[in-house]
Symmetry: C2
Subunit: 289 residues, 2 copies
Amino acid sequence: MQISNDDKKFLELYSDSKYQKPSVTVDAVILRMIDKENDNYRKLPEKKLQVFLTYRKYPPFVDHYAVVGTFIDLNNTLEHTLDLCVKNKISLNNFYKEQLFTFGDKQRDPRTRVLSVSYLLLTNAEESLSNGEWFDFEIKQTENKTEVLNDGYAVEKDIIITLRNGETILNNHLKLKINSSGLKMEKVLEIVSSDLAFDHIKLIYFALDRLKNKLEYTDIAFNLLPQKFTLTELKNCYEEILGTKLLDANFRRKTSDLVCPLNEFTGEKGHRPSQLFTHNPNWDRDANF
Amino acid sequence: MQISNDDKKFLELYSDSKYQKPSVTVDAVILRMIDKENDNYRKLPEKKLQVFLTYRKYPPFVDHYAVVGTFIDLNNTLEHTLDLCVKNKISLNNFYKEQLFTFGDKQRDPRTRVLSVSYLLLTNAEESLSNGEWFDFEIKQTENKTEVLNDGYAVEKDIIITLRNGETILNNHLKLKINSSGLKMEKVLEIVSSDLAFDHIKLIYFALDRLKNKLEYTDIAFNLLPQKFTLTELKNCYEEILGTKLLDANFRRKTSDLVCPLNEFTGEKGHRPSQLFTHNPNWDRDANF
DNA sequence: ACAAAAGTGTTGCGCATACACCCATGT
DNA sequence: ACATGGGTGTATGCGCAACACTTTTGT
């Protein structure tokens, strides 16, 4: 790690220009969970997961929606560049963030070679953002072909992701091909068609998948909720992400370590008041990187 | 995804040069599992995890060991560039690969701003590589400070990673700082000191962590073993990665779905012959990305 | 009264842990 | 004979799925 004298000499002579360089962006898939309003005074509002997209006014992909991002600044870290980007462009200040994946396909940007270091951002519904819209999800996965081979298998899945904001509907069709023979497992995710700019529907798919997987063994979901919440709210949040129904009693037991009960209750709701909870900040003490 | 006419016009006028571009490398943390030879004719060889490092003959970090990598080629995908790199530089052809993390700290390369898209590569002990050495691991983690705060906690861990190849010993000291207050969790991994080039000890740490975590719920470990293996070999492999001892009977039950028994047995070993197994290629059929 | 959510209790099954035990082999 | 690994059986207990049931509120 220490820089030697040889290195110092070398650095004086070093020219920056001999290697080809790509452009690099940092891109943020921003998700939140909102309450869908409801006419029935008894019923709880339904939880819906949403993604934040901005409308592109300039080429490339003019008039298309895209995820928020920016070309990186060589004087800042990747993370800091992203923080500044979402703060300046869309007024987002409070969020959870983790690196997702670095996309580098050759033709993903029509201008030139551009790598995208993508991040998953989670925020709660109280943040009001500018210069973009929140889109609802609708996801359909159909496993349309499965071949069992001699020493493996081949699967093809069609993934239809429909994004909706009022009248605006964005259709996206991905195809996931898994080819497994022996130990060699090849997974290719390709875009069949997409109304989004670039390969951004892939980033969104990766983000959703990451969120789903981390739900089980981390406390990541709490980043989507307000500070105080009821256990049914928490459960609805899990159900919306997983796409399945959970049993109430069991859910309460499983999440009991993750939450701290408060001495506050909701009311005026057409049903029994419910206790409010907060995230237990001491839960994941033995976390690793 | 379709390129519009507006876009086409734009692209004709587009100049590639107006954004600052970083250099980008792809880097491979290559791990394998070998058998440590043994004098006792009865005893099974001990399994040891190793990492492959190359010796740097030129600045920067001349005379230091580093992970294998290369500056990217703008005419190739990241993955293909890496495949070619390990094939040409060190004659590695058969391996498991997955993207690890993209490192982008400002000072990680003394020359200029360089991003590293890092990959985890696993190979089995039969591949013989050129232009580099395999290093044994020794890892010590000490949790030296834990503060429980009002709404969270602060932990500092020292991580000592010693790499050894014959007489060559490389010492590395990392510090992991976790600051958790409420939902905000900040994890910083910093290099206290390292005998390796660049921040490569961080890549290695990430690789080990990924491997450890994926061990439980994937079949990733089989990439480290020969095609045919005994269950005790498999168990030793798990134990070496996890750093804990496992119970034999339970391990066999847990892994029974992952393997296929063969009608072959080892012999001439000073103990009862053991059945050979292969990886069950149809195990993870319902895998997701 | 009733619909909806809040919350508790119970039962049974499956799986993991821990341990005991027998088998087969080469020297 | 014996050390070593190969391999099986089983008791115990915990966790989770499934379901039943009670409580509390506003209209």
